[in-house]
């Protein structure tokens, strides 16, 4: 299945944990420092520097590009560091999707269920492969944060896995249960 942001509620609700998905179109990047700033703006009642409604945030801090390259190596970082901020962005800014690696806290999953958002896993440590699916990169804001600046990436067939869906199903729970040896005789 190929999806293109902004995502509609219908598309979000149709995604299920375990689905392999490709994304084409634009993604926004943000890590810890950018999240902190975005949430501070929301708490102060100020506008965000870009519209997050229906959008997907990619948790990534790329390597600097060599001359002639669009972007350097660009794989996902640990998503749980953004758990403190993600529910606010989902509820108040309309964030629809997140791409990172490894599981999320209950507070994030609750917000995803309630307001309709999905969490995708990109393959950690596959930064060279994922970089080859990024065809454009421009800085949107917070340039002074270096690798942590917010970028708009144009991607083509960017491969991800629906890891936690908007119904609360999590592959981080179901996968190990299914493949752990205690259950292998089922």
């Amino acid at each position: 299945m190929n999806i293109t942001p902004p995502l509609s509620e219908k598309v979000i609700r149709a995604l299920h944990a375990g689905d392999q998905v490709t994304i084409s179109g634009s993604l926004y990047t943000a890590r810890d420092a950018a999240h902190k700033r975005l949430v501070e703006l929301i708490e102060q009642g100020k506008d965000l520097p870009f519209d997050l409604r229906g959008r997907i945030l990619y948790y990534v801090g790329p390597t600097p590009p060599r001359p002639g390259r669009v972007i350097g190596s660009a794989g996902p970082t640990t998503a749980s560091r953004m758990d403190r901020y993600a529910p606010v962005l989902i509820e108040k800014a309309g964030l629809a999707g997140m791409i990172g690696k490894a599981g999320r806290g209950e507070n994030v999953v609750e917000a995803m269920k309630r307001f309709g958002a999905v969490y995708f896993a990109a393959i950690g440590g596959a930064g060279a492969l994922l970089s080859s699916h990024i065809i454009q990169s421009e800085i949107v804001c917070y340039e002074e944060l270096g690798t942590e600046a917010v970028r708009r990436l144009t991607v083509e067939n960017f491969p991800v896995i629906t890891a936690i869906d908007s119904h609360g199903n999590s592959l981080y729970r179901e996968g190990p249960e299914r493949w752990g040896s205690r259950n292998s005789t089922k």
Partner: protein
């Protein structure tokens, strides 16, 4: 043993080259480990992940692009022969300079902040590195580099077990650590375990375990070698799988380093390395 003088500049150049090489070229023993994991894995989703990892390290080598955007904290283990010396400066200074040059000129990510709690300002050249120096007989200088990712380093564990906890207690602690880590350290991981010494020694041993070459070489003591195999099996039985999404391969290898310890203690440290288990070395 004839004493030797090594040029400071020669070390700087070698280190800069090593930083780039380690970021781009996955060691062949690790690449083989991932290919073997692909063959052994039963989950179709995990197999497709492992296939992409193989594709990833091929692209990285061909395009001189880092295997992972987290090009790590540069951790060095140095064996310095007691009959060798430098023409100027110290080995620590030379390695630090080489690291700064390698990360800047190699377009690698600067991931180090100057102060852990208050400032957190990026040092911009990925220094300082972590350097462990051991003095050994001889006149050679061997420097090994492990670029260590933040995601896997965050999954580090220490238990000061009771001697009566024994082998079973140790296995439980290690497997629990792996299950608790889920997808965070980017499995399939290399599991470094330090047993014995003091708390700090155990952690250093767990880190040193990642420097063992080739990957999957057994501990020289057959009892520890057998324990490595048993732990690998128990870890793979956990079902955590590639990226924590479920599967039958959770670790590529288990390496144990052991050391004498106090009569009252059984320290056990676990340090995980991601599947992009990068490594480079040079002997001068």
């Amino acid at each position: 043993m004839t004493s030797r003088t090594i040029e400071f500049e020669k070390i700087v150049t070698a280190i800069a080259e090593m930083c780039e090489q380690a970021a781009h070229d996955l060691p062949e023993d690790v690449a083989q480990g991932i290919r073997d994991a692909y063959e052994a894995e039963k989950s179709p989703l995990a197999r497709s992940i492992l296939q992409k990892l193989i594709h990833n390290y091929e692209i990285a080598a061909r395009e001189r692009l880092p295997i992972c955007q987290d090009t790590g904290f540069a951790v060095y283990f140095v064996e310095m022969g007691n009959s060798c010396s430098l023409d100027r400066g110290s080995v620590t200074e030379a390695i630090t300079q080489g690291t700064a040059i390698g990360y800047k000129e190699g377009y690698l990510r600067a991931s180090i902040v100057n102060d852990p709690l208050f400032d957190r300002i990026n040092t911009k050249d990925n220094t300082p590195p972590i350097i462990h120096v051991e003095t050994v007989p001889g006149n050679h200088l061997r420097i090994m580099l492990l670029p260590k990712g933040g995601g896997c380093e965050n999954m580090s564990y220490l238990a000061m077990l009771k001697p009566s906890d024994g082998i079973e207690g140790l296995i439980r602690f290690v497997v629990d650590s792996i299950v608790l880590s889920e997808g965070n350290p980017c499995p399939p991981t290399v599991v470094g375990i330090g047993i014995g010494g003091t708390s700090d020694k155990a952690m250093t041993l767990a880190k040193k375990a990642h420097f063992r070459r080739p990957l999957r070489a057994p501990n020289p003591d057959p009892r520890y070698a057998e324990l490595e195999q048993r732990l690998l099996q128990e870890i793979n039985n956990s079902g955590v799988g590639s990226m924590g999404l479920g599967g039958t391969v959770t670790a590529l290898a288990v390496h144990i380093e052991n050391f004498p310890c106090h009569i009252a203690s059984l320290p056990v440290a676990v340090n995980l390395n991601c599947h992009a288990a990068r490594f480079a070395e040079v002997t001068l």
